[in-house]
């Protein structure tokens, strides 16, 4: 927001140096942008909490911190929050002396929050300077004074609107926001209440004698005290005879770090025209009026809350950065297990194809058939002699065609590759299932199974590889075709020989299977060497093996991508907490600098500022009423208890009001 409304009504307000202010604002804007682009897509432990935290932090930056820094002189926003049924709306109405909100017996009552401000302060709230997420609604509530400019925002959903009600009862420079319940069954209401409390300069926390020990409000209050938000407590609806609860509540406040906060006690009473008796609310009214009248006190409340929010934001940003790093680590972890599983699959296939184990069985038999020596060698072993060769040739005909060997190779290789891919898919699935972040990405068992098309793909790759091998042999054999033909094998035969050689030769034929595979591989090698020469054969084998590995790698990569695509879609690899952490550090530094300047400026400005001119305000109800007799004794107001020297006392001075 660029417009800085002039504020002639506050001549003595402390002025801070623009440079430091904008430094802090700039740093916060950077932080806001980085937080805005932060994503927490993986379900790591605590990711849910971190997401909520992220939303809260950005909300608070948008709703409160940035607007507050951009316009220092905006009115103090007092958010009236509390449990369902504590009487927040009744209290607001009673203090104002008019019915701006509609209390009810049905819970939750206040659904759309109501912001009450002085008519002259309307310009601060009618735009989306604060709480930009809420649509403005300026229609006055039942019984409220009509007035205020229409901002034209139409409500899209009832609970995400903010009703603006101008009231001249309020002192200028002070605005009251009646928030929804913090603990109702309506989740949207609860969220909104938390957001509104995050946007407050000051909490006016309303509880009752029946529920002041509830767990939910105290969780919120603890958060508030942790980030040094300024809180005032109201103990509402105190039944006669239950005054001891006030002492009890005071003890609890001390225990929970809210010792400095004032506590107001309002007795349960018959409502007259929907309002509490004047004397009941007198104390709250007087305190609010005092706050509205004293610009410097107001400024201190604002600064104290703001500093607390900045500090907590720096801490929370660091936590969020950790959460993001955690996401990144989870992403890396998930990718790693998938990569490892599929790398193992490639290694498994390589192992199966390199030690000659695959050459047993079908492939060997076909190869022996092909070379036509199988029976021959056996015959030699049995000592029958060469004669049989001719007879065998006569009875069995020509050696079998090469494609049968190729088919046998393809078949064995296909089983091995398919099995490896299936196993890798299952292993990846198991690993992801055991990881919270991964389990959330798995839907059913689909990923643990290989797709039906994989068999066809593997088959195509193997045929492709065999084509590669033939191509290699063809290229190599261009000049030596005659020689090859002389050996009556041709390109196909040599290609098959090369495949056999590839399967048997890695690892230098030192495996267990050497004995079995060796014979055929040696034959293949001799054959190839006879045609191409020793060096060329070694090079060809290397090339063929590399191409096989590349093709298997391609298949496995495609399979691994089924997993990693899940992560890619989330983009969890690109996120990094470093940017946020740097921005948070910058904010911390800027805040420290700004505080130093402010302290110096505050010392210069002097201690007493002229009281605000209250003539514009009609005054809050009960300001001039005496406190109720029966409560005067038991009221543990901080200002009247000399033993407690709190922030508020320092703020307003001794027994001033």
């Amino acid at each position: 927001m660029t417009d800085k409304p002039d504020d002639g009504a506050e001549p003595g307000a402390p002025v801070t140096e623009a440079g430091d202010e904008s430094g802090l604002t700039g740093a916060l804007e950077v932080l806001r942008a980085r937080l805005g682009s932060l994503r927490l897509p993986l379900e790591t432990t605590g990711a849910d909490a971190a997401r909520t935290e992220l939303r809260r932090a950005t909300d608070q930056l948008d709703d409160y911190l940035l607007p507050r820094l951009r316009s220092q002189k905006a009115p103090l926003l007092v958010v009236v929050g509390g449990s369902t049924g504590a009487g927040k709306s009744t209290l607001v109405n009673s203090v104002l002396g008019e019915r701006v909100t509609q209390p009810g017996v049905l819970r939750p009552t206040t659904k759309a929050p109501v912001l009450v401000h002085h008519p002259l302060d309307a310009r601060w709230f009618s735009t989306d300077r604060v709480l930009p997420g809420l649509a403005r609604l300026t229609a006055p509530g039942a019984g409220a004074a009509a007035g205020g400019p229409a901002s034209g925002a139409s409500p899209s959903e009832p609970s995400r609107t903010l009703r603006l009600v101008p009231s001249d009862s309020l002192p200028k420079g002070l605005a009251l926001l009646d928030a929804p319940d913090i603990d109702s069954v309506d989740t949207a209401n609860r969220e909104l209440a938390a957001q509104l409390l995050g946007a407050a300069d000051l909490w006016l926390f309303v509880t009752t004698s029946a529920r002041y020990a509830d767990a939910v409000p105290w969780d919120l209050l603890l958060q508030a005290s942790a980030r040094k938000a300024q809180v005032a407590m109201v103990l509402d609806r105190v039944d006669p005879g239950a005054e001891a609860t006030a002492d009890d509540l005071r003890d609890m406040m001390v225990e929970h770090g809210l010792a400095d906060s004032p506590l107001f006690v309002i007795p349960e009473a018959e409502l007259a025209d929907g309002m509490l008796p004047e004397e009941g609310v007198a104390e709250v009214s007087r305190w609010l009026t005092g706050l509205g009248g004293d610009a410097q006190a107001r400024q201190r409340v604002i600064s104290a809350t703001r500093d607390g929010v900045v500090d907590s934001l720096v801490l929370r940003a660091a936590e969020l950065a950790d959460a993001v790093d955690e996401q990144r680590a989870a992403d890396a972890r998930l990718r790693h297990v998938v990569d490892r599983a599929y790398a193992d699959a490639v290694a498994q296939v390589t192992a199966a194809t390199s030690d000659g184990a695959l050459l047993r069985g079908e492939v060997l038999a076909r190869w022996q058939d092909f070379v036509g020596t199988g029976e021959f060698f056996r015959a030699v072993e049995e000592g029958i002699g060469r004669f049989r060769d001719a007879v065998t040739g006569f009875f069995r005909g020509k050696p079998k065609e090469a494609p049968q060997v190729e088919q046998a190779i393809a078949h064995g290789l296909e089983s091995v590759v398919l099995d490896a891919a299936e196993e890798a898919a299952e292993r990846s699935y198991q690993a992801w299932r055991g990881d919270a972040a991964g389990a959330a990405l798995l839907e059913g068992l689909e990923l643990s199974r290989t797709p039906a098309a994989l068999r066809a793909e593997v088959g195509a790759q193997i045929r492709g590889w065999q084509g590669d091998v033939l191509e290699l042999v063809r290229e190599q054999g261009e000049s030596k075709r005659g020689k090859a033909r002389a050996l009556s094998f041709g390109v196909n035969g040599l290609g098959v020989a090369l495949m056999i050689f590839v399967f048997a030769s890695t690892g230098g034929l030192t495996g267990i299977e050497v004995g079995i595979a060796g014979g055929s591989a040696v034959l293949a090698q001799r054959l190839l060497e006879a045609v191409f020469g020793e060096d060329a054969v070694r090079r060809l084998a290397l090339q063929a093996r590399d191409r096989l590995r590349a093709r298997i790698q391609a298949v496995m990569d495609g399979q691994a991508a089924r997993y990693t695509a899940q992560l890619d879609a989330l983009g969890s690899a690109e996120t990094s907490g470093a940017g946020v952490r740097a921005a948070a550090d910058a904010v911390g530094a800027a805040a420290a600098a700004e505080r130093r300047t402010r302290r110096a400026a505050g010392a210069d400005a002097g201690v007493d500022a002229p009281a605000e001119d209250l003539t514009e305000s009609r005054g809050l109800r009960g300001v001039r009423a005496q406190p109720a007799e029966d409560l005067a004794g038991g009221r543990p107001d901080l200002g009247e208890e000399p033993a407690r020297k709190g922030f508020w006392k320092r703020l307003f001075g001794e027994g001033d009001r």
């Binding site: 449990s83 369902t84 049924g85 017996v105 049905l106 819970r107 939750p108 319940d181 603990d183 109702s184 069954v185 309506d186 989740t187 609860r190 004698s209 029946a210 529920r211 002041y212 020990a213 509830d214 767990a215 939910v216 105290w218 609806r237 039944d239 005879g241 239950a242 001891a244 609860t245 009890d248 199966a352 184990a357 695959l358 050459l359 047993r360 069985g361 079908e362 492939v363 060997l364 038999a365 029976e375 056996r378 015959a379 049995e382 029958i384 007879v391 065998t392 009875f395 064995g412 089983s415 091995v416 398919l418 099995d419 299936e422 196993e423 299952e426 299932r433 059913g444 068992l445 199974r449």
Partner: protein, 561 residues
């Protein structure tokens, strides 16, 4: 619902838990086990008493309601929050001590047993929403164990998230054990009261407790107290609340186990899947190779037995394919003690990685087929069971093939007959040759040839008329060979040769047919063996898993009914 029903239900739930052990979410099973334990413990305690818990938020007036129901001041309501830190019991009637011990309620107050409310045990619980955590835990524990829950709410707090989300929603579906009492009704006007009651009913229904009793009371003025008292007395008199509560708890948890079980697997997939599995394992185990070898071997044997004796040796030159695989029965008996053929390994030329891979793929496919539609946890369990056997499959398959009898031990009778005939024919040829040789020798030595019998074939050119000028039979005057007269020695040589070769050819055809039949028999027996291995290593474990699923489902369905 009778007592027996609850016991049965508990047993069924227990069965379901045991069947689901290690398969379903441990947290759910833990919860189910807690319910079973609770049901057993409560079942062992007094059935004459009905435990009613007064639960609620801090300051809603549980203690006041207890006092109002009892009619005397037992509990001390306080203004400081939280008030009640330890639960307190008011007991109508005798003998509730073991029950209260189980509930771990120390503070007990004996009430006079009035006619209506004998057996009523009324508990005043600590707050569920206070900042003191032990109170919450104590309250939660008793909320679990009470038979009937009376939630005391007040106009301020009746819509608290802590109550609805933390306590009422987990009780969803058990409306009969929940009563919601809106206390402090005296603070409201009658119009407000009825509006609030309607709102409260709506909220309670949203919590999944449609039908729970909701009533307005006031401990201070006694308004509505008679209704509440009557309700409690009725519950105590019927003595059913305990059973109803436990049954409701069991139903709820059993329903969730049932949801986890998913739909039962379609059984019709089973046979088809098994057929596929066995076929895949067969080809992985090299059964086609064995079958081919059996066929070739049988043909070779047939040829050796029935072939023409002079060329039989050619077949012998090629090694018996079955022997090459080490499957010849003679080999096996030589290598292993009789009856322990399983100790022998074949030398089937199977490549281990390929067999293992093919078998593993087949097993995966099988598991996927038979678990189609089954809930994920069970599929994973079945998968791990099925795959446990993969490592053993290659060896087991090899042994199954080795131990299967692939040959027919008895040689066909016709082989021997043909063999005799072949040798006879050969002997005839030899005799003919010898005869001819003698004749040749005599002719060479210019000795008079002995009379040689000739076979006179009947002529068919005329009506049995002998050609004019044709020599008399047996005259043999060297006029050349009469085309119609064949000397016996020549006939013996030529006929023996022709008949022997012809017989060999015919027998080769028969031998091939017989070999095919033998191969089919071998295939059938091998299929049985492989099928047995598949059943033992894959189908039975997976089947057990599915049986567990079925029993879990059945038991859970029973428990949830």
């Amino acid at each position: 619902m009778s007592r027996l029903d609850l016991a049965d239900r508990t047993t069924a739930l227990d069965t379901a838990i045991q069947a689901a052990e290690g398969r379903l979410d441990p947290a759910l099973l833990e919860e189910a086990r807690a319910v079973v334990t609770r049901a057993r413990e409560r079942g062992g305690l007094s059935a004459e008493h009905t435990v009613v818990a007064l639960a609620g938020a801090t300051g809603s007036g549980k203690s006041s309601v207890l006092n109002a129901v009892a009619g005397v001041s037992i509990a001390q309501p306080g203004v400081r929050r939280p008030t009640t830190s330890h639960p307190m019991a008011a007991v109508w009637g005798e003998g509730a001590d073991p029950l209260l011990d189980w509930l771990e309620v120390g503070r007990r107050h004996q009430e006079e047993a009035s006619t209506g409310s004998t057996g009523l045990v009324l508990l005043d619980l600590p707050d569920h929403d206070s900042i003191v955590t032990e109170h919450r835990l104590r309250a939660e524990r008793l909320v679990q164990r009470a038979d009937l829950l009376v939630w005391v709410v007040d106009p301020q707090k009746y819509a608290d998230a802590a109550l609805h989300e933390g306590f009422l929603r987990p009780l969803a579906g058990r409306a009969e054990v929940v009563v919601v009492a809106l206390n402090q009704a005296d603070r409201l006007t009658p119009d407000e009261t009825s509006a609030m009651l309607a709102d409260l009913r709506r909220l309670v229904a949203e919590d999944g407790l449609d039908g729970a009793r909701v009533l307005a009371v006031s401990a201070r003025t006694g308004q509505g107290m008679d209704d509440l008292r009557g309700l409690l007395a009725k519950a105590a008199a019927k003595r059913e609340a305990a059973t109803a509560r436990l049954a409701a708890d069991e139903r709820d948890v059993a329903q969730r186990i049932m949801d986890e079980c998913g739909t039962p697997p379609p059984s019709r997939h089973g046979n088809q899947a098994r057929g596929d599995l066995v076929a895949a394992l067969e080809s992985a185990a090299g059964v086609p190779t064995v079958v081919d070898a059996v066929r070739a071997s049988a043909r070779r044997d047939a040829r050796a037995a029935t072939g023409w004796p002079l060329t039989r040796w050619v077949g012998r030159l090629r090694k018996d394919p079955l022997r090459r695989l080490g499957l010849r029965s003679g080999d096996r008996e030589g290598r292993a003690p009789s009856g322990r053929e399983d100790l022998v390994r074949t030398s089937l030329p199977t490549a281990k990685p390929a067999v293992r891979s093919a078998a593993a793929s087949a097993v995966r496919h099988y598991v996927e087929e038979v678990t189609r539609g089954v809930a994920d946890p069970w599929v994973l369990a079945a998968r791990s069971r099925g795959q446990a056997g993969i490592e053993r499959l290659p060896d087991e398959l090899d042994q199954a093939v080795a131990a299967t009898r692939v040959e027919v031990s008895r040689r066909p009778v016709w082989w021997s007959l043909v063999n005799v005939v072949q040798w006879f024919l050969l002997a005839v040829v030899a005799a003919g040759l010898l005869w001819l040789f003698v004749l040749f020798g005599l002719a060479y030595l210019q000795l008079p040839p002995p009379p040689t019998p000739v076979l006179t074939l009947p002529t068919w050119s005329g009506d049995g008329v002998v050609f004019p000028g044709a020599p008399e039979a047996g005259s043999g005057d060297g006029l050349g060979v009469d085309p119609f007269r064949i000397p016996w020695p020549t006939l013996m040589v030529l006929g023996g040769l022709v008949l022997g070769l012809l017989l060999a050819l015919v027998c080769r055809v028969f031998g091939a047919v017989g070999a095919r039949r033998r191969a089919m028999g071998a295939r059938r027996r091998l299929r049985q063996s492989v099928g047995a291995v598949a059943d033992r290593l894959v189908r039975t474990p997976v089947g057990e898993e599915l049986a567990q699923l079925a029993s879990c489902r059945t038991a859970a369905t029973l428990a949830a009914s």
